[in-house]
Symmetry: C2
Subunit: 661 residues, 2 copies
Amino acid sequence: MPADGRARVVIEGIAPQVDGGRFAIKRVAGDRIEVEADCFADGHDTLACRLRHRREDDAKWGETAMVAIGNDRWRGEFAVPDIGRYRYTIAAWVDAFLSWRHDFERRVDADDLRVAAQVGAEIVANAARRARGDDRKRLLEWARRLAATADMDALRELALDEAAAALAQRYPDRRFETKYPVEFPVVVDRRLAAFSSWYEFFPRSASPYEGVHGTFVDAEARLPYVAGMGFDVVYLPPIHPIGRVRRKGRNNTLVAEPDDVGSPWAIGAAEGGHKALHPELGTFDEFARFVARARALGIEVALDVAFQCAPDHPYVDAHPEWFRHRPDGSVQYAENPPKKYQDIYPFSFESDEWRALWEELHDVFAFWAGHGIRIFRVDNPHTKPFPFWEWAIARLKREHPDVILLSEAFTRPKVMHRLAKLGFTQSYTYFTWRNTKRELTEYFTELTQGPGREYFRPNCWPNTPDILPEALQIGGRGAFMARLILAATLCGNYGIYGPAFELLEHVPREPGSEEYLNSEKYELRHWDLERGDSLAPFIARVNAARRDNAALSHDGSLTFVPTDNDEILCYARVDATRANAIIVAVNLDPHHVQSGWVSLDLGELGLDADQPFQVHDLLTDARYAWHGSRNFVMLDPARVPAHLFRVRRQMRDEHDFVYFE
Amino acid sequence: MPADGRARVVIEGIAPQVDGGRFAIKRVAGDRIEVEADCFADGHDTLACRLRHRREDDAKWGETAMVAIGNDRWRGEFAVPDIGRYRYTIAAWVDAFLSWRHDFERRVDADDLRVAAQVGAEIVANAARRARGDDRKRLLEWARRLAATADMDALRELALDEAAAALAQRYPDRRFETKYPVEFPVVVDRRLAAFSSWYEFFPRSASPYEGVHGTFVDAEARLPYVAGMGFDVVYLPPIHPIGRVRRKGRNNTLVAEPDDVGSPWAIGAAEGGHKALHPELGTFDEFARFVARARALGIEVALDVAFQCAPDHPYVDAHPEWFRHRPDGSVQYAENPPKKYQDIYPFSFESDEWRALWEELHDVFAFWAGHGIRIFRVDNPHTKPFPFWEWAIARLKREHPDVILLSEAFTRPKVMHRLAKLGFTQSYTYFTWRNTKRELTEYFTELTQGPGREYFRPNCWPNTPDILPEALQIGGRGAFMARLILAATLCGNYGIYGPAFELLEHVPREPGSEEYLNSEKYELRHWDLERGDSLAPFIARVNAARRDNAALSHDGSLTFVPTDNDEILCYARVDATRANAIIVAVNLDPHHVQSGWVSLDLGELGLDADQPFQVHDLLTDARYAWHGSRNFVMLDPARVPAHLFRVRRQMRDEHDFVYFE
């Protein structure tokens, strides 16, 4: 038998939640969290349901009443004003007072009313016993009058008095309440975790002089250019000393020339490892100035954390127990037979010394956090054990709740999702390879409506230093613009690898490859940022639209709009207050002009079917008068392959002139 | 930090399961249970996954290997040969031997192979340490040869030897295995739990003489008639003494005449309560003979358990603490204001003496189980607390694992589902009110494919003593036939309330009511079973088809077949071995002949698109030659409103004559 079989309420089907509360849902500071659950009991008694919530570091629960929304489903909400961790759960009970009141309203028979008044007097007297002071006195008085009133009309009015009912409800009988046995965790991040635009560049290619190794000072000089495009995160590939042993040459050749600079991801050399700066980039002071200058421009610096070592990384000698050794005594390099990566030593997480390894890797994050860095792009997290990330991220976020970690796991879907569940703030996505209308519609429907929406925050990249997708290789300028628009308007977080992106770099190392020819991963590049065909002004307009339109932020809705042309992808976004509405139409064909009709859901956009409205293209400043659901678009990839429309609803003033808001 | 951070495998997304293992999935003895899970680790190492399973009363786990089926999903199965409770869970680990072998197959470089052979020798030697006897010797010998073989071809052959690999896999290194933390329960019932046909009748109306109270002896005489229709469960409304205080009269009138027999659900009088027999029905010996005679005819007797009391039930005096009392000292009758049911006293489950009440109610089941009863139809379980049912059913099934409980909860969907989750074997459904093609398609798709399929076993009733649905009031004989066919062929369990059903009883107490006129609930009825229009022969044919065709049993598939006529519902069912296929087409319009084209999925039916096939109507014995996917049907409600086709595949013998299997 249960401890008390009189706890009659069932609570189940609580949403949101991730894996029964095993993992946290993610929100940003200032959000309100809406929670629903199925709550019901036997019979037809009336329930009371409470949403319980607290900060994880505060033992005291707050409670808000939940309301029934039909089919035994209840809904409540609570606010998460600050970053950190919260918890919520639900309690519910069969409420004797509410049941009595509900029945009383429906009684017709005078004898019944009289008996019911006696029953009610007892219930209210019990509530009085739980009250103190004036409340107690008022409840006792109400109970006395319920028992004593003889006139039926007076009794009915007395029994159903709203103020008295509200008072009684403050002292419910919760002896037999059901408490849901799980507390559901919430991670609350700052807004940038959900809405950010990233710009990745190699500081060593930032020198104004061709062939000269760039420095933090050069990178600092590049920042106004990046800010001018409207990005708010600058992400640098690893800035540590680069291994010399088995260094790769240009275009990933096996043998480096003496002047080859090597891959920044081959971390560690005589000068130091993950906590050192590459000497040619500059000093910690110069790095600090770079970070400070970025901050002054409204940009936060993100660093790359790649847990792997060049053969000459100091860890290899100092901690041989953190690596696997081959029978010949050599350290096991990375491999996926028949492929070998002899310039990279992975850590062995099955080492007996795994605890010390975990501590050291955590210390790498902590070290850079100590230098003011709060955003980390984590390289290949899917090749390190999941329990390590869960532990490391939890610890790091306890120490620095404002930390943001982007998971660079271009891998199988379930692995990507697990990393997001266990704590990564943002995740790279398959966007990079989703090109057709069907692919994009299905993928973003899954991202915004699938279970991952509670924990998987996508960050969409049209390109990276590792990936020059086929669409950009063959689609020309129109494809670059379309892919940027899609990334920036389908997704709260997006980023580009520049200047390769805005300068339309599109030649692969060889046909069929996704690697860049003359990739910056293996050599210095010199970029002509002033080129007339640069997409920088276009990117600036897109980022300005993101900044100025709440509909494009992380909490704007996303609905795909039917079109009669498979090359035209159209979608509508509306902000949470429904004050701002955006319609995006993109020509996915980079080679031909495409036109077609889009079929809007006017109600969703807050529009009246009978009134014309204006759509204002934020890319070209053009304005169109539209009317009704079906409207025509024609998009030329040789000019601008997309419309980014802000909907301007018609407004009339007191003189009946037509304005648009 | 976790206890061991080296347990790298993630296990999640286990199916089947109910609410994370909080409740059991349901199966029948002899089933094989297929279990799937997402299992993956960091990196690209090879995993080993094991499905672990045991009887709940046997501490020892069995293990079967799971196989990868793509997208990190693994599948395994185990058998549940006997009734009772089982458990299953999953264990998985990164398998050093399998990873080594997987990599070895892909290596090309001779140096690599040599080093890999050394690594493999060490892994195999470690396996040998876990082995004993001959196995150990053979593994050590294999390890020695792996280390010593110089010739590359010989080494490759040796390393990839299948028999040696199988031996090594018997001694895996499971130190870092992940065990899923939940054991998922299974309730295994006998086959009748999932596949049964019920016939409900009032024994008191079974007398051969009009106006005479029927007895168990009369009911016994009725059994061959019931068996002749092919039913395997006979369900009797309550057979206990009926209260005299505030007894209801004919047609549910408030005041009974002296000769009114009262409702069998108003349980308890001076002669006794839930453990007594109504004196006019007969003695325990006569009851036992009735049960034995039924068994001899292949029929099991189900009793009604209705936990409520007439005012003169002995409990009311003996255990006043089990009832709620009004301020005037009277016992609180059942009510749902403004409705009152003064002839019924509900138990108060919030009583301080709830433990004793629970014990007594359990004893009611145990009492009848002691009289050989193993099937109970439970009246209104949704008006008693869920924790009571969970406890009572678990206890009863521990004592009598072959018990079957049918939940008579015609109530809100989540309440019905909760009762099924917490242990009821079968559940009444909304079938009774689902009439249109869309309603039936949606409802049975939900029942067979929704989450409830793991725990909610529907039992479909075209009528009950409480419910004469509108479709039967107005649809005539055709509607009765159609509703029976639907219940019997859409659902593993179904039942009718007879002889009202087969004798086409269709007049409501008043227009708009679903209550029968002159309902047997309040009076004796005399039925002319020999009437020429009786549906008994038709019902016998339908039940024979159920018995003879595995496709119609509980584990036959159900697929709705598109038709071009909204009044024609068509569906196909195929048994688990795919040897038996049934196509049902029903005219839902009881008034008009309807015809149309059905579009079969031939592959699903095991048919060749190029070969004609025969469909054999088991209702009329007519045979039709069909060909291809689209075929024509025409159904006349004035004759038979349905086809119940068995598909006869064409076979040719050695002389090339055409036969049908």
